[in-house]
């Protein structure tokens, strides 16, 4: 598959500020030694250079739909970037110290476009609420301009808000839900735990507007784990706490109608996620089966 590589490499080295830079050890694909590389994280792209002074990156890892986990490894301060697609590669990395590892894991698990979009959508919603509460006239023409700008952008940001959160939240939930053959990866449980709760809250707020978003079957399994787990938590959080939106805000604004985009003529010929949906189906089938067994045993 072609990629506009020159422009991608240019993005790596242009003067837009990176989100994180530093040295990391990266395990090679064929040569399984760890190589020290200079890493530059910009948006959802993780570039790596041979040296800090190198003018062009050796490579890039597109961080969309990945999960980041700590892993048991002979190498100290190791973590892995995992993708959920057939024959996906696992990128094993290691930092030079504990702080570096924690910092990179945090930064990488929030690097996806979807996550950024989720946060933007949330702030956009908050701002609209504030403006509505303040009343149209006194807030003024300046902010009115914002209204005009923000509305069209909503339409395009509707559908994929949840999977962004799950790529970050699943760094803890996947490790507890998945059964791995080797030693189970340790859950990322320092400050990510609290932010997971908050990010789940974010999802619950978005899902209220999205209406249809939760029923979409087209998700990868990793996202599906986190999605289901977080959706239960999210709905519980909604019913328990009253702090997600102001009184009356729920009924006031009609949620934006997602654009109709499902026609076979518009979508890619490959039905997305079909293979994954059956995996998801199997997983839930197993869970139901286990619950049944538990219930029968408890009688």
């Amino acid at each position: 598959m072609k990629l506009n590589e020159r422009s991608v490499a240019h993005y790596a080295t242009c003067d837009s500020p990176p989100d994180k830079t530093g040295f990391l050890f990266k395990k090679g694909e064929r040569n399984t030694a760890y190589h020290r590389r200079w890493f530059v994280l910009k948006g959802n792209m993780l570039f790596y250079f041979e040296e800090r002074e190198s003018r062009e990156p050796i490579g890039v890892i597109v961080l969309e739909g990945c999960t980041v986990e700590l892993c048991e490894s002979a190498e100290e301060f190791a973590f892995a970037i995992k993708f959920d697609c057939a024959k996906a590669r696992v990128y094993k990395m290691a930092s030079e110290n504990q702080a570096g590892m924690e910092s990179w894991v945090k930064a990488l698990s929030r690097a996806s476009f979807d996550y950024m979009r989720l946060v933007v959508k949330e702030l956009e919603r908050q701002l609209e609420e504030i403006q509505e509460a303040a009343g149209g006239d006194c807030v003024g023409a300046g902010v009115g301009g914002l209204q005009g700008r923000s509305k069209p952008s909503r339409r395009n940001q509707v559908s994929r808000s949840r999977s962004g959160a799950s790529s970050s939240s699943s760094s803890s939930s996947t490790s507890s839900l998945s059964s791995s053959s080797g030693a189970p990866p340790m859950a990322v449980n320092y400050s990510a735990q609290r932010s997971l709760q908050d990010e789940v809250q974010l999802i619950s707020d978005c899902s209220k507007e999205n209406g249809v978003a939760w029923s979409k079957p087209a998700v990868s399994v990793a996202n599906g784990f986190a999605e289901e787990a977080s959706s239960y938590a999210a709905w519980e959080a909604c019913s328990d706490s009253g702090n997600n939106s102001g009184p009356g805000a729920d009924g006031v604004r009609a949620p934006p109608v997602p654009r109709r985009r499902r026609g076979a003529s518009l979508e890619s010929p490959v039905s997305p996620g079909t293979g994954c949906f059956s995996k998801l189906h199997d997983w839930y089938g197993k869970e139901v089966e286990e619950l049944r067994v538990q219930w029968l045993q408890s009688k």
Binding site: L127, P272, G273
Partner: protein, 158 residues
């Protein structure tokens, strides 16, 4: 430059914001317009031969300029090679406008600018940082003075 192709191909199969058959012409001299299924997923524009599963290619939509070429077509050019334009032909003016709009908003960097704008504005109106409750106030990617220059458009209402 190496890139994780398998994962990118998998990304191209995700549900997309916008997908349609458009006429597409490459940037090289002598390239002709060909019918392609063009699909926008996050900050990538994938293009497929109609009815093929794997995309022919992908364009990362960062540091690019989208321009209306005429009533029904638009172009994408990258800042490092501004003369090299990819041309896209749509079926209608309206469709063309939608695509231009969507692609402009499809970059991570433009989303970041919006976020910073909203964050600043909410803070101005309420005195509170909206990101604090999510525990992400200190993330580099959300910082106002991360060296990012707010354009006049961003600060116009401040």
């Amino acid at each position: 430059m190496r890139f994780n192709e398998k994962e990118l191909v998998s990304l191209s199969r995700q549900p997309s914001e916008m997908a349609a058959e458009l006429g597409m012409r490459g940037h090289k001299k002598g390239d002709v317009v060909k019918k392609r299924l063009v699909k926008l997923v996050v900050n990538f524009l994938f293009y497929f031969r109609t009815d093929e599963e794997e995309p022919i290619g992908a364009l990362l939509l960062e540091q690019c300029r989208v321009e209306r070429e005429d009533s029904q077509s638009f172009s994408i050019a990258f800042l490092d090679e501004a003369e090299r334009k990819y041309l896209f032909e749509c079926d209608s003016e309206e469709q063309c406008g939608e695509w231009v709009d969507s692609i402009v908003k499809a970059s991570y960097e433009s989303m970041r600018k919006n976020l910073i704008f909203y964050r600043t504005e909410i803070h101005r109106l309420t005195g509170k940082d909206p990101l604090e409750q999510y525990g992400i106030s200190d993330e580099t990617r959300f910082q106002v003075n991360n060296g990012l220059q707010l354009t006049p458009r961003d600060t116009s209402s401040l």
